[in-house]
Amino acid sequence: MVTKMVQINLKTKDIHISNLAKLVSGPNAILYKDEDLLAYDCDGFTIKRHLPRAVIFPKDTHEVSQIVKYCAKHNLPFLARGAGTGLSGGAIPLNNEVIISLVRMKRLLEIDLENRRAVVEPGFVNLKLTNSISDKGYYYAPDPSSQYACTIGGNVAENAGGAHCLKYGVTTNHILGLEVVLPNGDIIEIGKNGIPDAPGYDLLGLLTGSEGTLGIVTKITVRILKNPEAKQTVLAYFDKIDDGSKAVSDIISSGIVPAALEMMDKTAIEGVEAAAFPVGHPKDIEAVLLIEVDGITAGINDQINLILDVCQKRNVREVKAARDEAERGRWWANRKTGFGAMGAISPDYLVQDGVIPRSKLPEVLAKINQISEENGLRIANIFHAGDGNLHPLVLFDSRIPGETEKAIQAGSECLKACADVGGSITGEHGVGIEKKEEMRFVFHDHEIQAQTDIRDVFNPDYLLNAGKLFPAPGRCAEVKRELK
């Protein structure tokens, strides 16, 4: 049987590939030639690469389970992949994994507006969900910048955030139920029917954000929300970055919970204005705030007035409200394409993702500026200021020998600066392979072990997505020396 398949279909000597091919249906459901695998040697984190053993495309949960069972039985490392937009390298096959791509599982299975939930397959693209229900006045809240491409399965793995999670929370606050294929191939359902608080430890919360190391999500029940009656979006330009960051804290402490509160610094503005979606931000300011409030129409003006007051007190140069939906859309496009826009002013860039108590913004921004000067690399800041979630973008040129390493070093120093003020090394991009060692900035060894102990319950043979999320044991002493 096995040999027959090889003769008919596949030009490979790898018996496992031939066997795996039998577990999936449809044409081109497995890739195994080097030239085909090249596209899968990294994800949105491009600094480390490795070829997978194969990429396989199951069409349903049963096929995923069969593939996983096969891999488990034959001791083959494997991992799951969505759209590959992850920024920390969580889907990079460091161990020559079999990649289980979930892009064929992209159906919207159910919409239940009355009970405010939808059921999707993991390959369903984030933005498509909102697009599918917007005509009825509903939306799906988590909105990572890559939402036009990223999948909801990937969002669950990374506990993705986005610009609007300040008021509405991140992915984990919107997941009601999951169907999961465990690393042994068993299929389990948690959060049955999307009903909250199923008796037992909160596996739903634990799996969300586990970066594909505990199981493979094959079906997701999400909460959907009613569109707010009104939205108002405001731009505020500041001559001094310090005023801008203090205004952020003041807005929040004034008792307003904005839907979004974003900030860009001078270098970032230079980038976005040179790229595909310029909106005419002045070049000589040090900071722009993009502030959105939403809610009941009758209350919007009160909120906006309070924000204007706060900005005036912090010496704002100019504040303007979006005139219409089109203008609001342009402002958001300018912001959401901000990372890519750095390509217009630098050959390469590295995105970081530190998070801090927002009152520490002025202090940490100054520190990042210092890191930039010390390393001789420009650092642009585009970030979710309201959440205290910084995205320092380290600009560099990989063609210059040593500069990539220097950029990585500068990025790591930015994370250290965040950790030092009581913050964390990642707010929404995940640890992946990128920030494994930086985990030690925030956790002691025994705290990391408490987490790997939990991983071992789910993933005892460690075939699923090994080498991610946690620093390698045994290197502790060495790394600690480096930090001193």
Binding site: L203, D302, P357, L469
Partner: protein, 441 residues
């Protein structure tokens, strides 16, 4: 282990007056301890657990004691670890809208502290005067405003845990977003103290609303179509209620004097917005309904009394009548069916039944009082009813003798081996709150 030996394990760790015998002994509800210790510091908690673990001493954990009737099948463990002297604010950063508190702080103390800063923890658990924040988090308790603000799992951003061997483990952090490592907070929220003692809790705060009101809409009995269509209309509108809670007629009468199904709709925002939304309700309510609007202090008082309905394990003494409480989870709109079914049980089984549930989140709280056999029959039948709807029922308060006969948590889930695996990893000697949780964990 004889009592003297037991005492000798702890008198090196804490002072004599922090160890007591025969205190808090509640034969009705169980979950007692042969001796009770009152640690005042994290260090003491850690050393107590460390010693207990070394000697395989079983430990029950208690905050305010409001949930003593929730889970557990033993009258007593060796040790009762009371956290009521472990309280206070560790750190409050008003501009970061964040607070870190010790777990023995009562919910009321926490809210009173924050009120000075125009802030609040956006939870509304039962018995706020007695319940500790640690207990609220450990049991994942919630109230009607879960619709607007979420539950402990949405609000807790960091925990300091004391593991059963005394090790201190920090989870999460002091930032509103954080995806470094697993979201271990979630593991401990709602874990009923079976994985560790919660020492410190960091919570996200919300500003106190500038204006708030609750609109009570009363429906003539049996007019369920009206309730359903009005609810759907409201949920499909752009109104933003922070609570949309249906109360059974008996409970509505207890709270307001009016015997009818009652929807309590809370709005919290700036004044103009609250008025506008109240107008929407006035204009769209069914013809045969009546309404009462409670504002500011009156609204607070209403929710406060609603939070004092269910049995409070701290005060329960053996009575002629048996009391039980249930948490029921169903799809949002099935709350209508559950509240109705509870009301019907009242007449058919000669019980007093109070039921309420959130139409925007699908969770109901029910309490029953009556003869033991009738209560047992009713909760059993309500569980069957709920499961037919695809939901679950957990018995959040029952006398010990009934908990020993009836499975409080329902059937084990198919993935029970994962839950058991987690317990075994974290508490290999099974010393903490033994048997208190799902499947006897």
């Amino acid at each position: 282990m004889v009592e003297l030996e037991l005492l000798s394990c702890f008198n090196s760790v804490i002072s004599e007056e922090q160890i007591q015998k025969n205190i808090f002994n509640c034969p009705l509800l169980g979950n007692n301890g042969r001796i009770t210790v009152f640690p005042k510091t994290e260090q003491e908690i850690s050393e107590i657990l460390h010693n207990a673990n070394e000697h395989q001493i079983k430990v029950n954990i208690m905050g305010g004691g409001t949930k003593r009737g929730y889970g557990g099948v033993e009258d007593s463990a060796d040790l009762l670890l009371s956290l009521e002297q472990y309280k206070g604010v560790v750190e409050h950063s008003p501009s970061d809208m964040m607070i870190t508190v010790k777990s023995g702080t009562t919910f009321k103390e926490l809210q009173m502290f924050l009120k000075k800063y125009n802030q609040k923890v956006p939870l509304d658990p039962a018995w706020p005067n007695d319940a500790t924040i640690g207990g609220v988090v450990a049991a994942n308790d919630f109230g009607p405003k879960r619709l607007g603000y979420g539950s402990a799992r949405d609000i807790v951003i960091g925990l300091q845990m004391v593991y059963p061997d005394g090790t201190l483990i920090r989870t999460g952090g002091k930032t509103v977003k954080n995806v470094a490592g697993y979201d271990m907070n979630k593991l401990f929220i709602g874990s009923m103290g079976t994985l560790g003692v919660i020492s410190e809790i960091t919570l996200k705060l919300r500003p106190l609303p500038k204006c708030e009101s609750v609109i009570l809409v009363f429906f003539p009995e049996n007019n369920f179509d009206d309730i359903q269509s009005f609810t759907c209309n409201l949920l499909d509108s752009v109104m933003e209620p922070s609570a949309l809670e249906l109360f059974s007629p008996a409970l509505a009468e207890k709270l307001t004097g009016n015997h009818a199904y009652m929807l309590a709709i809370a709005f919290e925002d700036v004044e103009s917005s609250v008025r506008y939304q109240a107008d929407f309700v006035k204009q769209n309510r069914p013809q045969k309904s009546t309404i009462t609007i409670l504002e500011q202090v009156k609204a607070h008082q209403f929710w406060d009394s609603a939070a004092r309905i269910q049995p409070n394990g701290r005060n329960e003494a053996a009575e002629a009548k048996t009391r039980a409480a249930l948490k029921i989870g169903v799809k949002n709109l099935d709350v209508l069916k559950v509240v109705k079914e509870c009301h019907l049980h009242q007449d058919s089984l000669n019980l007093k039944v109070n039921a309420h549930g959130g139409l925007g989140h699908g969770l109901c709280k029910v309490d029953l009082t009556g003869a033991k056999e009738d209560v047992a029959a009713a909760i059993d039948s309500l569980r069957i009813f709920t499961e037919k709807l695809g939901g679950y029922a957990v018995f959040t308060h029952l006398p010990l003798v009934l908990r020993q006969q009836i499975n409080v948590w329902g059937e084990k889930p198919a993935y029970f081996f994962l839950l058991d695996g987690i317990k075994t990893k974290v508490d290999p000697n099974r010393i903490l709150n033994t048997g208190r949780f799902v499947g006897g964990i």
